[in-house]
Subunit: 266 residues, 2 copies
């Protein structure tokens, strides 16, 4: 019995943040990372909460509508998910919000339970980058008809070796890893005459992969790389051949992380 | 002939700005006003340009998609509107952009030629204010059905004495002024389940008037002031009776200023 009552209680925490205000998700020695700020808020509420695990890293400047994380609270700490959410939102800066929080099966792991993720990337195509989109969109003019971009993005759909569409991590975490991923959706919508929203859904994304996919698609419709070259790069890295361009972090938003149904909270 | 060539050339300048970064439009002794920043950029390009006149003041925290201003350049200064726009955008911070600039009839005056203005006000109605809307929307829950808000806003349409829906200026500029204005549109649209966009179009707006109209409408649907009281206030200030609430600057955007057709630039 004692065993059972001392088991910590796991919570799923859904977060939104403005990436312009932080040095990315991952804790850094000297910087202002989202993970650090959330961990300080959790510890200010309950000192026994020692960490938060995210579904994955977002780079400096990347925003989130639905980053998902988990943390463990002591079993005798009597706060439900709603109370955690409200308490966190009094401690967090307005640029980070707890959107939902709920107790969850202890087998839930924000990173390892994830089945898929959805990202969005905004390109501002007007003559001038609107001030309210500064830091939230990549300014690129003369992309031609939306159909051309759609045709390139369609090449990404399916199962490919995306090793040519990622950056190497400095910490060597990628050594010997499998770069095969499945993209179930890569599309683009024109929201108005001056903005394009690209959307990507897949079962996993390598380091900076979405930004390489966006950068290469834009370079392709501008004639700086051919459709044939992109198709070849999707067969896996051959020698030193790599995607030509990594689009800036501004523009990228982690929209949501998808889990098996039993890990949903409401 | 000499007279003619020394006439200054007037330019119409359409500006967008992120109100979160500035202390309002109007020059202030110590603050970071949009007008100051634009005047410094103009003078850096051509020292003979000594000022810029806006269509009206926007308060600290109020953004603009289409503020309109004018300035005068020396007749012998050989830059067209496009060149001014490009030069300004290299000098201005990204939170202010010159959206358009064009030479215009010297009878054009950004303030006195204006026929009407359009403002938008965003209310975030979800449980949590999204980080990317922080400073750009007023967070108000439990507003009831959109129809109720529509019914209140409709009261504002038409010609009324709005003296009960404005703040007094400290500089006494309003003394003895006529407070009768005509509102041609006051409506609301639900963009998604968590956001309402209120829109106001009228031939003129008193100091903080849009914010008083929004605050009073929200107080009305929350049952803190009756429809009858709002109707009475629209007959003009009777004694000390005034609108009950001024909504915050965050949320308000000057969408555009409308002029006679001969003053359009493209």
């Amino acid at each position: 019995m004692e065993e059972e009552t001392t088991m910590p209680c796991r919570f799923r925490l859904d977060l939104a943040y403005d990436g312009r205000c932080f040095s990315g998700w991952q804790s850094q020695a000297t910087d202002n990372a989202v993970q650090d700020v959330v961990e300080r808020a959790l510890a200010a509420i309950c000192p026994a909460v020692t960490g938060v695990q995210g579904s994955g890293r977002t780079d400096a400047g990347v925003s989130a509508l639905g980053q998902v994380a988990h943390f463990d609270a002591p079993a005798d700490w009597r706060m439900d998910g709603g109370a955690w959410q409200r308490a966190l939102n009094t401690k967090l800066p307005p640029a980070i919000r707890a959107m939902r929080c709920g107790a969850i099966d202890p087998r839930f792991h924000a990173r390892f339970s994830a089945l898929a993720k959805t990202y969005r990337y905004e390109i501002a195509t007007g003559d001038v980058l609107p001030p309210l989109r500064y830091g939230l969109a990549w300014h690129q003019r003369d992309l031609g008809p939306v159909r051309d971009l759609t045709d390139v993005l369609r090449l990404y759909e399916g199962t490919h070796d995306f090793g040519a569409f990622c950056a190497k991590r400095h910490d060597g975490r990628d050594e010997g890893r499998d770069n095969v991923r499945t993209i179930t959706l890569a599309g683009v919508t024109a929201t108005d005459s001056e903005s394009l929203i690209l959307e990507f859904c897949g079962n996993g994304f390598l380091y900076k992969m979405v930004r390489f996919l966006v950068g290469s698609a834009v370079y392709c419709v501008k004639g700086r790389i051919s459709v044939g070259e992109i198709s070849r790069l999707l067969k896996g890295p051959a020698g030193e051949a790599r995607a030509p361009y990594c689009a800036p972090a501004a523009g990228l938003i982690l929209v949501g992380v998808h889990y098996p149904e039993e890990f949903e909270i409401f």
